[in-house]
Every structure is written in C-alpha cells, then in structure tokens.
Symmetry: C2
Subunit: 113 residues, 2 copies
DNA sequence: TATCGTTATGATATCACAGCATAACGGAAT
DNA sequence: ATTCCGTTATGCTGTGATATCATAACGATA
C-alpha cells in the first residue's frame, strides 16, 4: 500500500497566503546561502518564482523581508531583515510538532486499528 | 492585521492524493444528499470535477467508493460503499483536533508572545 | 574599463482546470 | 407505448496560473 500522511500549515491575510512552510524554507535558504539565486536552486525552483513569492510576502505583510544588493564582487547577494528572521522563528515554533501530531494519528487510525 | 492560520491534511500513495479533507467532505455530501450532482453543488464545484475526484480516489485506492445508479424516478443517484464509509470514518478520526492544535499554537506564537 | 554573478522584470509557452455540451439511462406519468 | 425528467458519464474548448526564456542594470574586483 505505502500510504503516507501529508500536512501543510500556513498563514493568510485577507484570504491570501503571507507565510507558509515552503516560503519559510525559502527565507531560510536565503539566509543560509546569502542569495536568492542560490536559494531558488536549492529549493528546486526558478529564480523568477522565488523572487515573486518573496515580493508577495513583503507586499501582503507590508514588511521588508529581504535586503538585496546588486553588483559587486560576488555579483550581489541577499540577506534577511531582522523582521524576516523574527517571522521565520515564530513560524517555526508555530509549526513545530505538526508532523509528529499527524504521523502519530495516522499510525493510530490507519495502521493499527 | 487579521492574520489567520490555515492547515490541511491528506493521505498520499505513490506521491498522489488518495484522500483529503476536501474529498472526504465530498464523500460525506454524497452520503447526505444521495447524489453526486447535489453533493457537487453543495461543495460549490461542477459535477464534472466532483466525479473526476471520486474516480481518482477509486483508482488510486483500488477500491469502489461510490455506488451509482442512472435513470429511474429521481434520475438516478449515488451512495457510499461500506468501504467508503469506513475510510471517511477513519479519516475523520485521523484529522480530528488538527484545527485546535493549529489555532492554539497560532495564538501562542503570533498573538501573545 | 572589462568581467562576472546577482538582482529585477518583460515576454512567451505550457498546462492543469473550469465551464459548456451531449449521450445514455430508466422509473413515473400520460 | 411513449414522453419526460434529473442523474450519471464523458468529450471538447477556453482560460488563468505557472514555468521557461531572454535581457537590462548593477558595482566591487582585477
């Protein structure tokens, strides 16, 4: 069979996504790699898509999340604003334990009894 | 602000959805109304879409979920198989408490501190 | 001043999905 | 017997979202 439980969690404002697991992972990847470009390839999406999603989050939250710099030695780069770091941190705490919650219940109701 | 937490939960097999909150609600609507057509309009989607989703679930689970009858006094109708009833029941238990879990954590990390 | 990788967008192609249309079915009413 | 009606079942087509491609601007370094 190989059934497996899946779950997702996100936050909306005016019925539009402002933060999600995927978007938070993207922000974390930007923090790690120091560039939107590297973060995008790490996430397996085009730069275009990554950039658009960041714009969406910033517009909808009305908060600047990513500081960007064009040109320079490495061609430029990006980093998270303190506000973004705070959002990522809070979202991670918010989402912590969800997978365990779901897989526990899955075992209980789909594997055992 | 009016930020609000959202969540979803579903079950996959070979990376394809076999059951989800939406699909289970659709099955429940079929059980209540006695027809795919009425269930579809109750769910706010076209009959086409509802029918396709049911086919998907049946194919991927390799289980007949809906007994259908064409023609007759009321034009026909549909009802859930015992297997479908069992799946709906287990999924409901599986998903129970998720909303509370999420909204509780949301309050804790996004509203309070 | 030439180079190079990154940011920032426009333009175009592709694809899942929604909406529309239609055939088959069969109990009930005429 | 025949017409009627609402439902099942499925093909066809338009459309909006998304993915892919292309290109300009930028500026520290060599």
């Amino acid at each position: 069979m190989s059934l497996e439980p899946k779950t997702n969690i996100w936050i909306e404002k005016d019925n539009k996504v402002v933060l999600s697991l995927w978007r938070v992972r993207l922000l974390e990847a930007i923090a790690e790699t120091g560039s939107i470009s590297a973060a995008a390839s790490k996430m397996g999406v085009s730069y275009r898509r990554a950039w658009e999603k960041i714009q969406e989050c910033e517009t909808r939250l009305a908060v600047k999340l990513v500081d960007t710099q064009t040109g320079g030695s490495g061609g430029g780069g990006s980093s998270l604003t303190p506000e973004a770091v705070a959002y990522v941190d809070r979202f991670r705490k918010f989402a912590a334990g969800l997978d365990e919650f779901v897989s526990e219940r899955f075992e209980k109701y789909f594997l055992d009894g």
